[in-house]
Symmetry: C2
Subunit: 405 residues, 2 copies
């Protein structure tokens, strides 16, 4: 990138926007003009199409057709949206992705399924910097089953030194929620697979921001949320990916009626439905699922490669302005190893985030010292990146945030 | 009821509608005028307020405020809607109900929590006629833990002959999804409690149709869905009730971040949040939760006693017309022991249901021989009941449904 050479001006950022092939997508979303929204990696913006779809599924599907809608498409929705997501975003052939339940519940289900498929093995491995809900779920499951939860302190790629014939399950986030570091999925899959353990990826900060090739990288299991870069809505349902070859072997623990063969027979005795339907449990959250579908469709339309190219350009811009301003960058400097957000480190990060929000810039604070700027390529402009980092620079120039020690 | 004496005419049913104190509520819902919708106990009708609320929470909460909305009310929504539901519908003092996850997942969480609280006890009891998802979840949990799942063949009140010091958990539906029979909650709670076991109720077919007094009846645990008589929407989030005294003792198995103390600290180590928040797992499904809230509000406004009175009158009418027509009634005849739906039994029930749907009447088939007419007192008119049973009578008079053997 050539921008780092000379001081970056706001005009130069505006010039990048003028040349941005994705710029028209921003109009497809609701965006508060009063703020610089740099938190699309926490809650992505609302596609106008989601609002329309919500209205349609409620007014027509629920309001007019009522219970008949289950047979008129609703029952297929978890698999249909899953396949769309698989093709456009995850690099997964059809029949391996299903959408439903929260990310936490999906993660729990696949953790239990994996552990049940590796009886006698006593160890679970994750990294200390993994997303909290993943860490907490693992603690709970490890305690309930009397397994050992081992914390990796280094990067996911170093897990080879830790796996053993005792390892049942390894799980990491593909893109770190704090640093945005991208793990080498193919390499980790190979190492974990060689040890006979199962590998479960959390794609929450990857899907919709960086290309994924779950099939190509020989991924076994994955989960992720749809409300970040997929713009699926607050608390939108999450997805599960289970590699074709594993689907018959794995059994998820929450045996609900919608995961049963012929659920409306309501027959005695649970028999898991074939394929990904067997990973469902309860009644699908139709309204939220329909809204999330629209987010997936827009990402599919824009194309993940174009999104990735802009994501790199946005983070490069943020890093170059941060560098000019003496702000410490806590994300990888190599674009290929960095997702679509940037972590800027400062001892007063918490107070600085509050100061930014007062000034109309919305980042995330991540303890202990990270100001996280999330750039969502379909909605974030280059001038937003510039404005965000510039606002931080301004706060620091004034001697730091109010009340900082 | 005096109506059974003389043959019931449609005009007489219309007269009941004219005197119905709840009749105005029907206008608050979207209702397809082309059909007689007798399936509100499968999917309740859409309140117009739910459509408006969905639009508001999406367009304003998500679209304009974005991630800021979490601190502007969303994080409280699971508990706020729970308390509203507890007060208006469940007979539960504040701080004992939380809304989130599917009914199946909520049920699983409380089953596991209960079993963990009764270590060493090896038996789970339910009845053979319980709702399928409950039966399947129990099978899965019993198998995973090596516990004995014992099937009661009789009514829930006979469980006293089955409980023992080995019993960890007993669980029944309060209103049977097939017959509409209401269990004696206080009596069962006492019997199970005396055995030192925990009692978990499924209120899916009760809440919003019959009065409940969970606190007064010394209930310990309950779950239920919001998309039947609470008109919460397709796949709407379910609720959990945990008696105050048990909340500190019970720990649910899916340790997600939203169930942790100070979730946004993202700190190491799970520590359950106090109270019902500790029973949450993942990110709350905000859109669906907001829609469901509107359903709860309408029930609260109408009042459960008025709803119950109309529910009895609707089912009495159905039974009297069925009796006149020689159709076998498979629901309790005593109104006090019957919920708001009526099971009519016929060997050709499956084909008869298909024939009814062709004629614009929407019931449910429940294997092996039940035609289930669900009456939702806020939306079902007396003429709808009459039309539904009359259509069935017409089919039978023609020698049964097409293709019946």
């Amino acid at each position: 990138m050539t921008r780092a050479a000379a001081a970056m001006t706001r005009d130069a950022a505006a010039e990048l926007d003028a040349r941005d092939p994705l710029s028209a997508f921003r109009e497809r979303f609701a965006i508060d003009p009063a703020v610089v929204y740099l938190d699309g990696n926490s809650l992505g913006c609302m596609p106008h199409a989601a609002l329309e779809r919500l209205h349609e599924v409620a007014a027509v599907g629920w309001g007019q057709r009522g219970v008949r809608s289950w047979d008129e498409g609703w029952l297929e929705l978890p698999l249909e949206v899953g396949d769309r997501l698989g093709a456009a975003v995850l690099g997964a052939a059809p029949g391996q992705v299903v959408v439903g339940d929260s990310t936490t519940v999906c993660f729990y289900k696949l953790v239990c399924a994996a552990l049940d498929a590796r009886p006698g093995r006593t160890q679970i491995i994750t990294d200390r910097d993994n997303f909290p809900t993943d860490r907490y779920v693992l603690e709970g499951v490890a305690q309930a089953r009397g397994l050992q939860l081992t914390w990796l302190d280094g990067d996911p790629e170093t897990v080879g030194a830790m796996v053993s014939p005792d390892t049942a399950l390894v799980t990491f986030s593909h893109v770190s929620y704090r640093s945005a570091r991208i793990a080498d999925m193919a390499q980790v899959n190979a190492v974990v697979g060689d040890a006979g353990a199962l590998m479960l990826w959390d794609l929450s900060h990857s899907a919709g921001s960086v290309p994924l090739s779950l099939d190509g990288d020989h991924a076994q299991l994955a989960v992720g949320c749809t409300y970040k870069y997929l713009n699926g809505g607050p608390g939108a349902p999450a997805y599960m990916y289970v590699q074709h070859e594993l689907q018959a072997e794995l059994r998820q623990p929450i045996w609900g009626w919608l995961g049963r063969r012929d659920p409306f027979e309501m027959a005695p005795g649970y028999e898991a439905a074939a394929g990904m339907r067997g990973f469902l449990s309860g009644t699908p959250p139709v309204l939220a699922l329909a809204a999330a579908d629209e987010g997936v469709k827009i990402v599919a339309e824009a194309g993940i490669d174009a999104i990735r190219a802009k994501g790199i350009a946005l983070t490069e811009l943020a890093i170059s302005v941060a560098d000019e301003s003496g702000i410490r960058v806590a994300s990888p400097r190599e674009p290929a190893r960095r997702g679509a957000h940037v972590a800027l480190a400062h001892p007063d990060a918490r107070a600085l985030c509050a100061g930014l929000i007062e000034r109309g810039v919305i980042p995330d604070f991540r303890r202990p010292d990270v100001i996280r700027f999330g750039f969502s390529p379909l909605t974030t402009r280059f001038v937003d990146v510039w404005d965000g980092v510039d606002a931080l620079r301004g706060l620091l120039a004034r001697g730091g945030p109010p009340g900082s020690g």
